[in-house]
């Protein structure tokens, strides 16, 4: 069992301004980064099969959003979902076991990287269908409202998902029913190879909220504080029964879309310019400059995150492979 220390929302001010919240956020950022770098390495060495979608460069979105949530709040995630999963508190060992096709993985080897869900931390599942999780998030939010609970639901999705019908239908339902849902768009500029300039006529995706009658904001998605602040405002609005918000987080994936990507559609200069805006480097610099943490503390957090990922790989590797014997009996849930 290796999960990050729970993310903390400071009572006042920003995440970077307080040692406990800054430490927790840094652990989240680094755990996501190291987890995905490890996975990338295992893949390159032929020790992991299938496909995967890495969010390296986008860690501030998952971290800033989940810092504004309670454990009892829900999320729906995407094919690029390792970060959401880790930031919400999932067990790195069970995640790694799933990617390594083990029986102890979150999905017992049936789902892999694209389908991790974690009931305990309110993760209703990553989704291999672009925009597939957005109406589901609206439905989970509808249930909170019907049951009189003040939990909120965050739906993560990419820029590409906002051209899908499911996005628009879910936005409209959430609006007319004032659902406690926060739509978090990770705008990393590309839906596979298609740039946002190619795929849409508007400047900012947040504008789309206006046509459904609720607020839309665009924030620097590589700044944990900015993402957190926008989410906090949206969560307050949702808990108060005032309905949804669309938050567009401007970010960038350093790696390709998936393993087949040769990066033919973007320039080296563009990639380098975004790497210079790396969310982790920026956060570390900010907390050092503000004096929230000193370098030794940062190094210690980095070492802890590295250890967690290492032990996740070790423990997961020792687990039994997933078992075909139980497949047929797993399609339907047994009636009570």
């Amino acid at each position: 069992m290796t999960s990050i220390n729970p993310l903390l929302a400071p009572d006042t001010g920003l995440i970077s301004q307080h040692e406990p919240s800054a430490s927790a956020a840094l652990e989240s950022l680094l755990s996501i980064r190291y987890f995905e770098e490890a996975v990338d390495g295992l893949f390159a060495r032929g020790l992991m099969h299938g496909t995967m979608h890495l969010s390296i460069g986008q860690e501030a979105v998952a971290t800033g959003v989940c810092a504004a949530l309670r454990r009892t709040d829900f999320i729906t995630s995407t094919h690029r979902g390792h970060g959401h999963c880790i930031a919400k508190g999932a067990d790195l060992t069970r995640m790694m076991a799933e990617l390594l096709a083990k029986q102890t993985g979150y999905c017992r080897g049936r789902g892999g990287s694209m389908h991790i869900a974690d009931v305990e931390t309110g993760n209703l599942g990553a989704n291999g269908i672009v925009a597939g999780g957005i109406p589901i998030a609206a439905g989970a939010a509808l249930a909170q409202k019907m049951k009189g609970k003040d939990n909120v639901v965050v739906s993560f999705f990419g820029d590409g998902a906002t051209n899908e019908g499911a996005f628009h239908e879910a936005m409209n339902l959430a609006a007319i029913w004032d659902l406690p849902v926060i739509f978090v768009c990770e705008n990393n500029k590309y839906g596979m190879s298609g740039s946002t300039e190619f795929s849409m006529k508007i400047d900012q995706i947040s504008e789309r909220a206006g046509s459904y009658g609720f607020p839309g904001v665009t924030v620097d998605g590589n700044d944990v504080d900015a993402v957190f602040e926008a989410t906090k405002t949206a969560v307050e609005r949702a808990r108060a029964g005032k309905g949804p918000t669309l938050i567009e987080c401007m970010t960038y994936r350093h790696k390709g879309h998936s393993k087949s990507d040769k990066n033919l559609y973007r320039t080296k200069e563009e990639i380098e310019s975004w790497k210079a805006q790396d969310p982790i480097g920026r956060f570390e610099q900010k907390i050092l400059e503000q004096g929230t943490l000193i370098q030794e503390q940062i190094d210690a957090i980095a070492e802890k995150a590295r250890d967690s990922v290492r032990s996740a790989i070790t423990e997961a590797s020792e687990a039994p492979d997933s078992d075909p014997a139980e497949l047929l009996s797993s399609v339907y849930r047994e009636a009570k």
Binding site: R108, R110, A117, I129, G139, M146
Partner: protein
């Protein structure tokens, strides 16, 4: 005891109402199910009885509606989705096929999607190609979905209450021509187990296998052939997934002849699966005549009444084909 007579639509409404009284997590959502009472009148007065929060009128937004139902089901609700015509499930296929059907298996088994999707199916109303299809084979082909086709008011209530007990997504295909038909329906809650085929008429000469509105049409054919001395057995496939071959094999072992009656187009239809399972099973070598499939033509449902009737098996077609199989011609 006097029989308590309800229509098919009333039987469905009674099941929904009783389930909602018993379980506060049950709610219904769909287009025009509120004050309008539903396109086929099924929800009726449920809106007045349970209010707008539990009989939730939605915009015309099938993908959104089914997705919302999936999300609500994941966190403990029991949604009943009404899709106004089964044809419109095409708008929501991602949520039905890629999400609802797969979540329990794909996500490792902790989550499940206990929803019931009700939809009026079939032709016979002059509504043409986009409001008349019989799409059961689509859903029966997807592991993770259960598929039910009630053939009478009694069946409709018992199967719907069983579907609502089930922790999995159930596609509940009602036939439009049956909504106004009536029959005996007990007032108490009773359940017909999913995954059972039902022997509805016994006979020794020929087995007819049917579902939905083809069950009553087959029974009518059987009745009219009685005078010609042909005794026909009729089996209702009320549950396509899970599917129960037991009564079909048993019947063929007795009669040696079988005709599969289906409203949907023949090509790739569910009766092709039934034929395949007969050929794989214990009854194959008791057949004295080839299996006959009497199915809809492989064309979209047309508008004109004479055209519409010509593409779907009618009473006379069933009688004529049954006699042919019986006589071995």
């Amino acid at each position: 005891m006097t029989e308590r007579i309800l229509t098919y639509a009333e039987a469905i409404r009674e099941a929904i109402g009783q389930a909602m009284e018993t379980d506060e997590n049950v709610f219904m959502l769909g287009e025009d199910i509120g004050i309008y009472g539903g396109a086929f009148g099924v929800s009726g007065d449920l809106y007045q009885r349970f209010g707008k929060d539990r009989i939730l009128d939605t915009p015309i937004s099938e993908l959104g509606i089914v997705g919302a139902a999936v999300g609500a089901a994941l966190v403990g609700m029991k949604p009943i989705v009404e899709i106004q015509f089964s044809d419109f499930t095409a708008q929501a296929m991602d949520q039905i096929v890629n999400q609802a059907a797969k979540i329990h298996f794909m996500l490792g088994g902790e989550l499940s999607v206990p929803l019931v999707l009700r939809a009026p199916s079939g032709s016979g109303t002059g509504a043409a190609a986009q409001h008349s299809q019989s799409l059961e084979a689509w859903f029966a082909h997807v592991p993770g979905l259960k598929v039910v086709m009630p053939s009478s008011p009694y069946e409709a209530k018992g199967l719907l209450l069983a579907a609502l007990d089930d922790p999995n997504p159930v596609i509940f295909l009602e036939h439009k021509l049956l909504y106004k038909t009536s029959g005996h329906v007990p007032e108490e809650q009773y359940r017909i187990p999913l995954g059972t085929s039902n022997l509805v008429r016994t006979g020794k000469d020929l087995t007819l296998v049917a579902s939905g509105v083809m069950v009553s049409r087959s029974l009518e054919a059987a009745e009219s052939l009685k005078d010609s001395g042909v005794e026909i057995e009729v089996i209702d496939i009320r549950s396509l997934s899970p599917f129960d071959m037991g009564p079909i094999n048993e019947s063929i072992l007795k009669t040696g002849k079988v005709m599969l009656v289906q409203e949907a187009p023949k090509h790739g239809g569910f009766m092709a699966e039934v034929a395949a399972q007969i050929s794989e099973g214990p009854a194959l070598f008791s057949l004295t005549e080839p299996i006959r499939r009497l199915c809809g033509m492989d064309v979209p449902i047309p508008y004109a009444p004479q055209l519409e009737k010509s593409v779907v098996p009618q009473l006379d077609d069933i009688i004529a084909n049954a006699l042919e199989v019986h006589r071995g011609s």
